[in-house]
């Protein structure tokens, strides 16, 4: 668990460092995600014989724990927003209508295009 946390933090740290040095327009944790994925993928692809399967590692347990309670991690920021909720209301109807309609439209378009494009997936059944 401690080791797993050290791995996650180290990847984030390297990601943040690269962003700071190069100015690439990607959040540091996303670079950390790419870095960890590359390491894990190498481990799976090349050193799989005799190793613990990824799902059984402490890292997988810690990752599942964090991602299973992702909602908790948004609570502090969302509390701040509630305290400023009046700003949204004062700026009125255009914003509220645009947010609601645009979110519904975005969900529908994204999922519809995804489902439509499943026909290009080899061996896909289009479901």
């Amino acid at each position: 668990m401690v080791q797993a946390f050290a791995i996650l933090l180290a990847c984030q740290l390297v990601g943040e460092g690269i962003v700071h040095l190069t100015g690439v327009p990607v959040p540091g944790p996303v670079l950390g995600l790419i870095l960890l994925a590359a390491c894990l993928w190498l481990r799976e692809a090349r050193f799989s014989a005799g190793r613990t399967p990824l799902a059984a590692t402490p890292l997988a347990g810690t990752a599942n724990g964090l991602l299973g309670h992702l909602s908790l991690l948004f609570v502090p920021a969302a509390v701040g927003v509630v305290q400023q909720g009046g700003v949204l209301a004062r700026n009125g109807l255009p914003i509220v209508v645009a947010l609601i309609a645009s979110t519904v439209l975005t969900l529908a378009v994204t999922a519809a295009v995804f489902v439509w494009a499943l026909r290009f997936v080899r061996g896909g059944d289009g479901a």
């Binding site: 984030q12 959040p27 609570v75 509390v79």
Partner: protein, 242 residues
């Protein structure tokens, strides 16, 4: 010589310590998560909404400002970084499924990211919103830090952008399940990808409650859309208000 417990003194001491608000945040979420689980993960019983309502009520009742609250809650907030990195684990475990879905993901990303920005801007503009408001809400579907940076750069109001982002995330997370059930879209990959793209991390949190597959595709959409939106917003704003 016994001294009666001075509750006011105790409160003054505890309310200045980060521990109190950290404990309140985690406890409120524990209660909210129990309620969500008891409802069978009903989409309208959203743990973020319940936890925030409980905490906001406590802050108002005790006259506590957000800065004091956040000194404790920041330890939870900080975990968003490691949680993002942790997405690498389901990604690698499902790398075959992800690789098979590259074409649907690319096409859905292109269509969805343009829709997210253009529809918000066009609807608000047609209702008479000024350019500064358009720049404020254009990045509403991406994660807060990225959205605030885009808004600041293009003359929006970053703090109002944060409000729009969280409101979008909560709304998307609440409606996604009944909405796709009504549309008859059953693919977990498509549903997850759409909610991550439209409603960033809060949508992704909801998707992980439904299934690991949906959560993974939501997380990927969230990361990809953060990059796509940064590229699209300036172009859309130039078209709408030259």
């Amino acid at each position: 010589m016994t001294r009666p417990v001075d509750f006011l003194d105790l409160w003054v001491y505890l309310s200045g310590e980060p521990l109190l608000w950290l404990a309140v945040t985690v406890s409120a979420y524990a209660v909210a998560d129990r309620m969500a689980a008891a409802s069978g993960r009903n989409p309208f019983v959203n743990p973020v909404v319940i936890a925030v309502a409980l905490i906001a009520a406590i802050l108002v009742a005790t006259g506590t400002n957000y800065r004091t609250y956040f000194e404790g809650a920041q330890f939870v907030h900080f975990l968003l970084g490691p949680a993002t990195v942790a997405l690498a684990v389901p990604l690698v475990r499902n790398i075959g499924a992800v690789a098979r879905m590259l074409v649907p993901m690319a096409l859905a990303l292109a269509a969805g990211s343009v829709t997210a920005v253009a529809s918000a801007v066009v609807i608000a503009a047609s209702l008479g919103a000024p350019p500064a408001v358009l720049a404020t809400i254009a990045p509403k579907s991406v994660t807060t830090a990225v959205a605030m940076a885009i808004s600041r750069e293009l003359g929006g109001e970053p703090s109002l952008t944060a409000v729009a982002v969280i409101a979008t995330g909560v709304f998307g997370a609440v409606i996604v399940t009944p909405f796709f059930d009504a549309l008859g879209i059953r693919s977990r990959e498509a549903r997850g990808f759409a909610v991550g793209l439209a409603a960033h991390g809060i949508g992704t949190a909801r998707a992980f409650q439904v299934s690991e597959t949906a959560g993974l595709f939501a997380g990927l959409a969230m990361a990809l859309n953060a990059v796509a939106t940064a590229l699209i917003v300036p172009a859309v704003l130039r078209l709408v208000s030259p």
